[in-house]
Amino acid sequence: MRKCISLTLLFLCLAPGYLFAETPEEKGLAIAREDDRRDNGFADFTASMVMVLKNRHGEASQRILRNSTLEVTGDGDKSLVIFDEPRDVKGTALLNFAHKTGNDDQWLYLPALKRVKRISSANKSGSFMGSEFAYEDVTSQEVEKYTYKWLRDEIHDGLDCFVFERYPAYQNSGYTRQVVWLDKAEYRLLKIDFYDRKNSLLKTLTHRGYKKYLDKFWYPDAMFMENHQTGKNTLLTWSDYQFQTGLKDDDFNKNSLKRAR
């Protein structure tokens, strides 16, 4: 049996290239799958986030948040985002259960009323805390949420990259397409150009300051989102990444949302 497989492999290796001719769509999907595979196994992480929002006049305002994320095998991740600043929204928390297909489940905790409110996650293009990030940009990215098409390979920032397009497979996205630059060696997402519903360039996201965690996972320190149509931008910086902290399902329910700090 083993011999048989070896022979098959040998045959395949020797076969002319056109037998393998992957369509650009297949190649794009294969890249996304490999990217996803490399992200698997982090178990959970916590991190601090600072967002600096700037308008076209350069006036800045700041948001401080914390994120805990739990990896869910076979489905999207569970995450809890807690707002620390501005102080008037301190204690507000967002619980998200991402799903590979269909809408995410979302609950918002409003500390002044002590109220947990189920919210619709369907409006994915809505602004996240007034920033240039939309909800669909900050929630868990699953392979199934897009269809793909590889465009070309090119050198970007001195790194050999795949350049591919992805098209939202979910309803109510603010985008027709996204062009993604991913480095071939480590599958680090370097840049995304977002095209709006009219297919005009809307925003560019740049990831910077990649560091390797657990000897395996590459996470950026900074995400810079620039809106080309409004002149506004948001710099999201991440710090205090901690992995495999022992978070459990119980840390992502409505009781934990209510006592989130």
């Binding site: 914390r66 501005p86 102080r87 008037d88 369907a122 409006n123 007034g130 119980d250």
Partner: protein, 406 residues
């Protein structure tokens, strides 16, 4: 979770927390925080006062610091006092302990002991089933401000849902505007003469049980409350000088209620219903429900517009103890999604069978990182002599509030 600002507790706090060690609250500090707000408020009533003793404007100041201490392992202590000083209404000048809570986080359950606030419900206009805490009515007639409720609350979160058991050993009386306050009836409610059906008065032990669960798109809660009604029945009486006043009577009730929300794409469907026995002569049923739909990125901007439509029903009709016995409410919520978090909520509550209606507008905007300006406008229209809000017919309100959060 280990992500907290770390700090060293002050000496007084160390002593207080040291006393708790025998209760299982031991171990080193994981976090402590000091936060809160201070707010200045001006109220203008464009129409001349209807009832003697009332002013056409008032100024007010309130402060609510919050102290939070957390042990390694997640158990915590929260202290939130509140104080308001009001220029016009001595009843609105008041102190309340909003929270004084120990939360014990154990392997299989959460135990919350002390003074707390608990919210039940899903709808936006009327919080029908929200019964654990008493309403701090002098704060705002929207009934969203609550007095701290002493309780022992055991919460079990399991695969089959969450079960909450409440023992409420002490009852808090509702606050009502005094002689100098607007937004009240012609007769002042004399809170000093409150009457209770139970001989134990405010020491009657009340209890509640609530089961809640999430099944995919559906979130629901089912509860049973047995004890002192948070909502008093008002009886005509006389004060010490023989002047007519309203006397709040707190009856013993039994309430069964349901609240649910169902999300379906952009639609959020909500409902609350209750059946109450013991309040007045007859059992009654009340219901509220509707939907919320949000338009994202309206008119090619980053703004969101939420539309809320809710119906309100109370089968006591004219004898209902709320203004919402047969009404429809429309709400429009605009979120500008700018750095200042500018937002506005417009509401219109219309009686279905009569002309009585009320409108409100709440708008807010942040200035810098810590200041928030809040505008509130309320108006009451078409109120007939037998309408619930008839006595408030000239209490149209313009309120400005500047709050500093720290």
């Amino acid at each position: 979770m280990p992500l907290f600002r770390r700090g060293v507790p002050g000496p007084l706090l160390m002593i207080l927390l040291g006393l708790l060690t025998p209760l299982g609250f031991s171990g080193s500090a994981a976090a402590q925080e000091f936060s809160g707000f201070a707010t200045g408020e001006a109220r203008l009533f464009p129409s001349a006062a209807l009832h003697p003793g009332q002013d056409d404007q008032s100024a007010s100041f309130a402060v609510q610091p919050e102290f939070y201490y957390e042990w390694e392992g997640g158990s915590s202590f929260t202290l939130v006092p509140f104080y308001r000083q009001d220029s016009a209404d001595s009843e609105r000048t008041h102190f309340d302990l909003r929270e004084f809570t120990f939360l014990g986080l154990f392997e299989d359950f959460e135990l919350r002991v002390g003074v707390r606030k608990v919210f039940w419900g899903t709808t936006e206009v009327l919080h029908l089933v929200d019964i654990i805490n008493q309403t701090d009515l002098v704060e705002n007639i929207d009934t969203e401000d609550k007095l701290g409720q002493p309780m022992v609350n055991l919460s079990l979160a399991r695969d089959w849902g969450t079960l909450d058991l409440f023992l409420l050993p002490y009852f808090r009386e509702r606050t009502f505007p005094g002689r100098g306050g607007r937004l009240r009836g012609a007769l002042v409610v004399d809170t000093g003469r409150a009457e209770f059906e139970s001989g134990l008065e405010e020491w009657h032990p009340d209890g509640a049980i609530r089961y809640s669960h999430t099944l995919g798109a559906l979130d629901f809660g089912l509860h049973e409350f047995i004890g002192t009604s948070r909502e008093p029945t008002l009886r005509l009486g006389a004060d010490g000088a023989g002047n007519p006043v309203l006397i709040p009577v707190y009856e013993q009730i039994r309430q069964t209620g349901l609240d649910l929300s169902l999300v379906s794409g952009e639609w959020l469907w909500k409902m609350e219903a209750l059946y109450r026995a013991g309040q007045g002569d007859e059992d009654y049923f009340a219901w509220t429900g509707g939907f919320e739909y949000t338009f994202t990125g309206i008119v090619d901007t980053a703004m969101d517009l939420g539309v809320v439509l809710e119906g309100l029903y109370d089968d006591r009709g004219r004898h209902a103890t709320s203004a919402f016995e047969h009404d429809i409410a429309l709400g429009l919520r605009l979120a500008v999604n700018d750095a200042a978090s500018t937002q506005a909520l417009f509401g219109w509550v219309q009686d279905v069978t009569r002309s009585s209606r009320s409108f409100f507008l709440e708008a807010s905007r942040r200035f810098g990182n810590n200041w928030v300006l809040n505008l509130e406008i309320r108006t009451f229209m078409g109120q007939d002599a037998d309408d619930f809000l008839f006595d408030l017919r000239d209490d149209d309100l313009l309120q400005l509030e500047m709050t500093y959060y720290f």
